[in-house]
């Protein structure tokens, strides 16, 4: 019994380690895991590993973290327990402040790619960043730099904002007075209410639904004044409805949907800032779009998704390979809307190579540079969207 008790305890600690590393492992899974290990009844490390992975893992992307955690934990549980106590001070009451050295060891164990020097150098690099630099600036965004007034205003206006994209018909039917089909089940039910003498027909029409929305937001140096504001807007629409996926890109592509899902805008933004590695660096639009097309498009563009691309089109690689990727993107979604902050200038011309490569493939080309334009955007998108609309032709 002694060993069984120990096992459950260890599995619990392991689950907490995974949870701390960002995996969604609920208590139900911990119970399942203990049961599974007993049933598997194997002493082999490999079987042990696969048993735990089957129960505790639900995403292939989490495997590297799981592997690392597994290797760290099931080698020397004592070490990890110590780390856990540091990582989760709340769970241990008034625990002492984590000692810098030890918590750093856990960070290293869990996130081996992050080096201590980078952590310390962050602040300096943020100061030293150059807009549109050729070097990727590994800095994190600091929301404290946003003025209080700016933040309040943005919050107020953006939390009210909705993105009323037109609905599309689905293949699912729902009751509708002027429907094209008869809902036989409802019809019979209604007729029975009358004793079966009269059969009032209940009609059904295809249900309408917002298409999934995928946002690709440029956060490079040249977009700096706009991207922060836009992130607040994205937070508002991400929480407004389901099936919104948000990516940001500079020199690399980051999926920030989970971070934005947090209800509280401040917490969400802190998480976003944590996730983004290439804030205010250079732009490699072609490269980032390629990464999206290759790795994500088949996973998030199903079911008639609409894509919002937020970028100024200023590409460090001068539009190399950008046309092909834009074409693939345009062909794999329902419609592609490009929001460009530079469009507010009257004399904007489609001269930069990146812009010229992108423009032929977008369905709608709109300005986005201040809160007002975001409100306007919502209004414009409310109208019927057709591929290759007039708004864009004007800019050719």
């Amino acid at each position: 019994m002694e060993t069984a008790g120990k096992l459950a305890e260890n599995v619990m600690h392991f689950a907490r380690l995974l949870r701390a590393a960002g995996l969604r492992v609920g208590p139900d899974r911990v119970i399942d895991c203990v049961k599974a290990l007993e049933i598997a009844g194997s002493q082999h490390r490999e079987d042990w590993y696969w048993t735990m992975s089957a129960v505790l893992l639900s995403k292939q992307e989490h495997r590297p973290i799981f592997d690392q955690a597994f290797n760290v934990f099931w080698r020397d549980p004592k070490l990890t327990e110590k780390m856990m106590s540091l990582l989760l001070p709340k769970a241990h009451g008034r625990a002492a402040k984590p000692e810098q050295q030890q918590s750093q060891r856990l960070t290293d164990a869990l996130y081996s790619q992050k080096k201590p020097e980078e952590l310390q150098a962050e602040k300096k690099e943020f100061e030293a960043r150059l807009t549109f630099s050729s070097r990727e600036v590994l800095s994190r965004m600091d929301f404290d730099t946003m003025s209080a007034a700016e933040l309040t205003q943005a919050k107020q206006m953006l939390s009210q904002l909705r993105l009323p994209l037109p609905v599309i018909k689905t293949r699912r039917f729902q009751v509708h007075p002027a429907g094209i089909r008869i809902d036989l089940r409802k019809t019979l039910k209604e007729s029975l209410r009358e004793g079966g003498d009269v059969i009032p027909l209940v009609r059904a029409a295809p249900a309408e639904l917002h298409p999934p929305l995928v946002v690709l937001c440029d956060i490079s140096g040249s977009m700096n004044p706009y991207s922060r504001m836009f992130l607040h807007f994205l937070h508002a629409i991400t929480n407004d409805r389901d099936r919104v996926t948000v990516f940001v890109f500079g020199t690399r592509l980051t999926n920030i949907t989970r971070a934005l899902r947090h209800r509280d805008v401040d917490v969400a933004m802190a998480k976003v800032a944590e996730a983004i590695q290439d804030w205010s660096g250079g732009t490699r639009i072609g490269h980032s779009l390629r990464e999206f097309n290759w790795r994500w498009s088949r996973r998030v563009l199903g079911q008639n998704a609409c894509v919002l691309l937020v970028s100024d089109g200023l590409d460090r690689e001068a539009g190399e390979g950008l046309g092909e990727e834009m074409e693939r993107l345009a062909k794999s979604c329902r419609y592609l809307v490009w929001l460009n902050p530079l469009l507010r200038y009257d004399k904007f011309e489609a001269r930069p190579a990146g812009v010229r490569a992108m423009l032929p493939h977008v369905d709608l080309f709109l300005p986005v540079h201040n809160l007002k334009s975001l409100v306007d955007l919502a209004r414009t998108l409310n109208g019927p969207l057709t591929r290759n609309s007039q708004e864009k032709r004007a800019w050719r």
Partner: protein, 304 residues
């Protein structure tokens, strides 16, 4: 004849092997746990890695009925779980009228009885005819359907029951063996995944792929199979939009057999590349010099 469930990971592996399915230890472990703990097995992976095949092999190996539910957009309760037989109900109402039946309650009880119920895949899977005979339910390509259907599945997958408002709850005496597959064209909600054991079906390594070919394309010469596997393994390391799956490897080997080839040569490879690669960009990238280079490499690897 229904067979008892395997009692260990080794037995599970043997069961799959008996059904000509070459599984690695990780899959056997997940499957064994799913069977032992009566949980659905959630298989995710690229197209053509043999996800659906697993369910067929289990059903075959265990001697159970395989009930397949192919998902598609707009799949609803009427097509997935159960439906009332409306024409028969209408006739019943008319007959009752003719017989002078006036009680609404009696009529309702009559027409909402089990004999008017048309059971679809999910309801049939819960029926079962006794201990140890529960069918294998394959919910194929769950990512193709929409969120409302996923939500509907929750009740079925956790409590093994379907609630029919008119008559009550249909509950399984013995939970079926459930296999869910997804091509990951969208993320399945965590609530569904939570109830399942998850397994990512990856492309096989060279040794396992060769074993698969030996079983699935027995007509190919041993040397040809080795070259084919080495070529495909190299191809998977290339920068392609869609990597060829195991299904493609088997198809290709059979094509080469049909063309009477006993060894790979650049020309044949170029002519049959469409079997492996289904995107124009990928074809353009590989056809020609790259294919010739891969053939040389594959031959060297196969000879080693």
């Amino acid at each position: 004849m229904p067979q008892p469930l395997p009692k260990s990971i080794d037995q599970t592996q043997a069961l799959l092997a008996a059904g000509e399915y070459v599984a690695d230890r990780s899959l056997a472990t997940s499957l064994f746990l799913a069977l032992a703990m009566r949980r659905p097995l959630f298989l995710e992976g690229e197209a053509g890695v043999g996800k659906t095949e697993i369910a067929k092999v289990i059903a075959d190996g265990l001697g159970r009925e395989l009930i397949r539910l192919q998902c598609y957009e707009g799949l609803d309760i009427g097509q997935a779980a159960y439906e009332w037989n409306y024409p028969r109900q209408m006739i019943e109402i008319r007959l009752a009228e003719a017989a002078g039946e006036k009680s609404k309650e009696r009529l309702a009880a009559d027409i909402y009885s089990e004999k008017f119920l048309v059971k679809r895949a999910l309801a049939r899977a819960l029926e079962g005819s006794g201990q140890g005979t529960a069918p294998v339910l394959l919910i194929d390509e769950l990512d193709r359907t929409d969120e409302p259907f996923e939500a509907y599945l929750l009740e079925v997958l956790s409590d093994w029951q379907i609630t029919i408002p008119e008559i009550g709850t249909l509950r399984a005496a013995e939970p079926p063996v459930v296999v869910i597959t997804s091509n990951r064209t969208r993320e399945i909600h965590d609530a569904v995944k939570r109830r399942c054991f998850y397994h990512w079906v990856d492309y096989p390594d060279a040794r396992r792929e060769l074993e698969i070919l030996t079983r699935k394309a027995p007509g190919a010469a041993a040397s040809l199979s080795r070259e084919v596997v080495a070529f495909v393994q190299q191809l998977r390391k290339s920068d392609l939009f869609k990597l060829p799956g195991v299904a493609e490897t088997i198809d290709w080997a059979n094509c080469l057999v049909a063309l009477d080839r006993v060894t790979l040569d650049p020309e044949t490879v170029n002519n049959t590349l469409g079997v492996l690669l289904k995107y124009r960009d990928d074809l353009e990238r590989i056809a020609g010099d790259e294919a010739a280079r891969l053939v040389t490499e594959a031959k060297a690897a196969a000879a080693a």
